[in-house]
Amino acid sequence: MNYDFNWMIVLTGEYRDWLIQGLVITLKISGISIVLSMILGTIITTLRMTGIKILEWITISFIEFFRNTPLLIQLFFWYFGSDAVLPDSVNQWLYAHNYEFAVGVLALTIYTSAFIAEEIRAGIISIPKEQLEASRATGLSFVQAYAYVVLPQAFRIVIPTLISQFLNLTKNSSLAMTIGVMELTYMARQIESYSFRGFEAFTVATLMYICLSLIISLCINIYNKKFLRMIKY
C-alpha cells in the first residue's frame, strides 16, 4: 500500500470546516428526529394499547411495515413521491424550507418511531396491570392514567434502549446524504471528490461517529448505574 497521507488537509482550513458543519447537521437531524419519533412512538403505542381492535390493527401494520422496509427506500419514497402523497400546502411549505432536510427528518422520524413504539410497549407491558386498574379506579380517565401513572414509569425503564435508538438514528442519518442533506458522510464524500483525499476525510468522519457512539454508550452506562438501581419492581 503506497499512499501519502496528508492529514493537514482535513485538519485545517476549508475541509475541516466542512467536516464540522457536517457533524453539526448530523447532530441536528438526529436530535430533531429523535424528539419527534419519541412523540410519534408514544402516540402509536398508546393507540395500540387502547384495546380498540381497529386502532390496534392499524398501528401494528404501521409498525411492521416501516420496520421491515429499508430506510433508503423510505427516504426515496418521501423525497421523490411527496408530490403525490402529501397535501399541496405541506409540499409548498417543504419546498420553501430546506426540502432535503425536512424530508430527511420526516423519513428518519417515521422509521425510528416504529422501533421506538415497540420499545415503549415492552416498557409498558413490564408495568404491572394493577397500576392502570388502580388509577382508573381512583377516577382518572384512560388518557390521564396513561399520561400520569403508566408512561412515566415505563419511560424510566426504556430510557437506556431509547438512548441506543438515538445512536442508531445518528448512524442511520448518514443515509440522508443520498437525498442531498449535507451531513457528515456527505461532507466526507465531498472532500474525497474535491481533493482525492478520501482516506483522511473518511478517517476523520469515522472517528467522529465512533466518538459519538462512545459518548452515547457512556450515557447509557451512567444511567444504568445511577438510576436504574433505584427502580424497584
Binding site: 421491515n68 429499508p70 408530490d83 422501533f115 410497549r121 464524500r189 461517529y209 465512533i210 459519538l212
Partner: protein, 244 residues
Amino acid sequence: MHWEVVWNNMDYFLLGRYPAGPLGGLALSILLALGGIFLAFWIGIIFGLLRLSKRWYLRIPSIIYIEIIRGTPLLLLIFWFYFLAPVIFHRPMPEARTTLMAFAVFTGAYVAEIVRAGILSIPKGQMEAARSSGLNHRQAMTYIVLPQALRNMIPSFVNQFVSLTKDTSLAYIIGVQELTRAATQVNNRSLTAPAEIFFAIAVIYFIICFSLTQTSRWLEKRLSYRTAGKIHQKAIELLDDSLE
C-alpha cells in the same frame, strides 16, 4: 396513478437484465444478503469466541473491531471498502464484491455480539461438567457449549439476516445493480410515477423481511418452549425487543 410503470418493469425489478445481461434486481439483493450472512457467521463466531478469551492479546483486538464497526454507519464502511480495495489490491474491484465484503465485516461484528451473548447464556455448569469429564477447553466449547448456544441463537441470526436484507439497499450508493438501484433507474427513466415505484419496491422488501421476521418469532417460541417454560420465553421476547 401510473401503476403500469411498475408492472411493465417487474421483471427488471426481480431479475435485472438476466438472462440477456448480468443478474440484478431483487435476485442480486438476496444473493448479497445470503453471501453476507454466510461470511458474517464465520467472522462472528471467531470474534465472538476471541472476545470471551482470557488472553488479553486475543480479547482486546476483537473488542476494538466490534466496537469500531458498531459505532460506524454501514454507508461509511462501504465507502471505506470502495476506496481502500483498489489501493490494497492495485486494481479496481467489482462493486458487488466490494459491498459483499463490507456487509460481511459489518454484520460480523453484530453476529459476534450475538455469539458472545449466546455462549454467556449457557449455564456455567455445562462447561464445568464437560471439563471434569475429561474434555479440554476447546473440545468442551466445540462439542458441548457452542452447539447449545448456536441453537438458541437461531432467532437472532434470522433477525440479523432481516437487517442485512434491508441494508443491501445501501449497495445502491456505489452502483451495484440491486433492487434499489433498479428502482431509481426506472424512476429516472419514467419520471411519472415515483411514489408508485418506491411503494412497490417497499412492498417487495416488506414481503421478504416480514415473512422472515415471523419465522424468527415462530422459531423463538418453539425453541423456548422446548428449553424452558413460558416465563423464560417472555423474558427473551422483552430482551429482544429492547435490543432491536
